[in-house]
Symmetry: C2
Subunit: 334 residues, 2 copies
DNA sequence: TTGTAAGCGTTATCAG
DNA sequence: CTGATAACGCTTACAA
């Protein structure tokens, strides 16, 4: 019943040209006279010809496939709204190109397996998500395979490392400055795990703003991005007994956890403590009071990552670090 | 610097056998004497040989690739915790097999493009997520490509349709019965969009339980799964002026929206109205009171989907409909 | 049990 | 500008 899948050869026969010509109109129509292109295309449509990817890859040494590498703890990974939005953004951009996206789970148990898969020509390039400082394997892989990192991995000085990231330092700086502009002077911050550059960067942004205003009292605590850890960190902050009237939380989840604690203690937001944070997600929007926050343009980030990689594969020179700008959203927590 | 990627031929030379023998130990080691397998494997390891996927596909007519088809509105799709958990569950299972997962976004604008990509031998099978009744294209595709649907698509009677789903009817029935067991008799339900089988099924489960208890008063409203729509539906329900002492909401988000309205009106949960729902997500856990709900074992669902597809591709006979069981979690909303 | 050889559907080189 | 023809790396009858 199934009509045999048409091949390039059949198209050639139908159009009355050689295989080479058909291949040319498919791959570089400009090198063929318009008349020929038209007739070959007609034949292609009539037959419903679709190039066989495997044959193409084999002959051209290009797989037209891009690997999206995600950490082994996939459930936790996708549970993070940031990544849950980033993955489809990358996918969406790629769907407008000739590339196909494959999801590869970094196997911690046998890193060699992942490594070989990537390096054996099965993939033209890779996108590495997650900023764990331990992802050194990938910066090594990046030396032989076009790779774009979301976020700054360690070894960023390596000449083969390309990164796209949101401007975390700038975001934190902006959020902190907003606190200062609103008269807050006793600033504290709860940042993310010290193994993640995004956390480190946000901390640095906070430092810069606070330092510039001469108000750094060293009130820093670390959390792991979760509400629970944010609450714990807030308790530790309070336990220090120092005055606090402004808090920059490195994520909306952290902020939510912290606010929980403040509520228990009868500390009012924003009256007693004003809060700014990062992430315009469900947490930021549904907190009460709603959080003044920095929006990360995840869609644009994903598109930028994908676009950079495609260009890198094409041999273009691209920036080693592209920072995508963020926006402050004013709500009720300040 | 880069050592040339070792080929099967090089392995053969090194092991002192023919290419066919190497191919055999790679693909069907059982058909080769153990001694030979061992020596060939040694050669493979020494060389770090990795089979070239493209060549394999071309020669064997198997791509070892499975497509995961997701709806075009990728952002909304992944924002749904259910899918955000399901995708990695499928990916994780597949990573233990020889298959590779590729993400394909169903292009609504040019469905033919997706269709051709899938049907041109670039893929050995497909997983279709999302239960829109409009996904008829895929049941057609499923006739020529091994396909497993998550959720029941229309045309489920088609002999080529294989589905894995949560037992939605059973879940709703169980949740509703729980309400009845706790003395509630004036039951209402807010279900999902009528275009989605999961919503239809949950409604049916509610009906069955209510009907069996002879308490169906026809108090039904529809929502689109969101909090907002749940709130709206609750208002409509209340506007009818009929007594309600038990509500089955088809999703925790709907339940959350509904509770918001009840709170505004001073109606107490569970004292005045008891609520049960489906989804043990953030919404169910953080509602106050916390929601008594039906947990969907998404991890198992994903694994079942992937496993079914792999076996279908292998030519095994599999169930046309596998229902994965759910569990009731008792909390404070009843 | 193992090897030989003929493809698989493209791309790419090289004449014409 | 176009057409042979040789790869590409592997699988798979078919022979031995």
């Amino acid at each position: 019943m199934q009509a045999p899948t048409p091949t390039l050869e059949m198209v050639a026969a139908r159009a009355g040209v050689s295989k080479s010509t058909v291949s040319r109109v498919v791959n570089s129509p400009d090198s063929v006279p318009a008349r020929v292109v038209a007739s070959v295309r007609a034949a292609i449509d009539e037959l419903g010809y679709v190039p066989n990817l495997a044959a193409r890859s084999l002959a051209s040494h290009r797989s037209r496939t891009i690997a999206l590498i995600i950490p082994e703890d996939t459930a936790a990974f996708f549970a993070d709204p940031y990544y849950a939005a980033l993955v489809p953004a990358v996918a969406k951009f790629l769907s407008t190109t000739e590339y196909t996206l494959t999801l590869v789970i970094a196997s911690e148990a046998e890193p060699g397996k992942t490594r070989r898969h990537l390096l054996s020509g099965n993939v033209d390039g890779a996108v590495v998500l997650s900023h764990h400082v331990s992802d050194l394997v990938y910066v090594e892989i990046a030396r032989s395979l076009p790779t774009v990192f979301s976020g700054r991995p360690p070894g960023s000085d390596d000449p083969h490392t390309y990164m796209v990231d949101i401007d975390n330092v700038g975001a934190a700086e902006q959020a902190t400055r907003y606190l200062l502009q609103h008269g807050r002077r006793s600033l504290a911050t709860i940042t993310g795990p010290q193994t993640m550059t995004s956390a480190l960067d946000r901390f640095e942004g906070w430092m810069r703003a606070a330092f510039a205003a001469g108000v750094n009292n060293g009130l820093v605590e670390y959390a792991d991005w979760s509400e629970q850890s944010g609450a714990d960190a807030m308790r530790r902050l309070l336990a220090r007994g120092e005055p606090i009237d402004g808090l920059f939380a490195a994520s909306a989840q952290i902020a939510t956890g912290a606010m929980e604690v403040l509520r228990e203690r009868g500390i009012r937001v924003p009256t007693d403590i004003a809060i700014t944070t990062v992430d315009n997600d469900h947490f930021a929007q549904n907190a009460s009071p709603a959080l003044t926050t920095i929006e990360q343009p995840v869609g644009m980030l994903g598109a930028t990552i994908a676009d950079s990689l495609v260009r890198l594969i094409a041999g273009e020179e691209i920036e080693h670090l592209s920072l995508v700008p963020t926006t402050l959203i004013e709500r009720e927590s300040v």
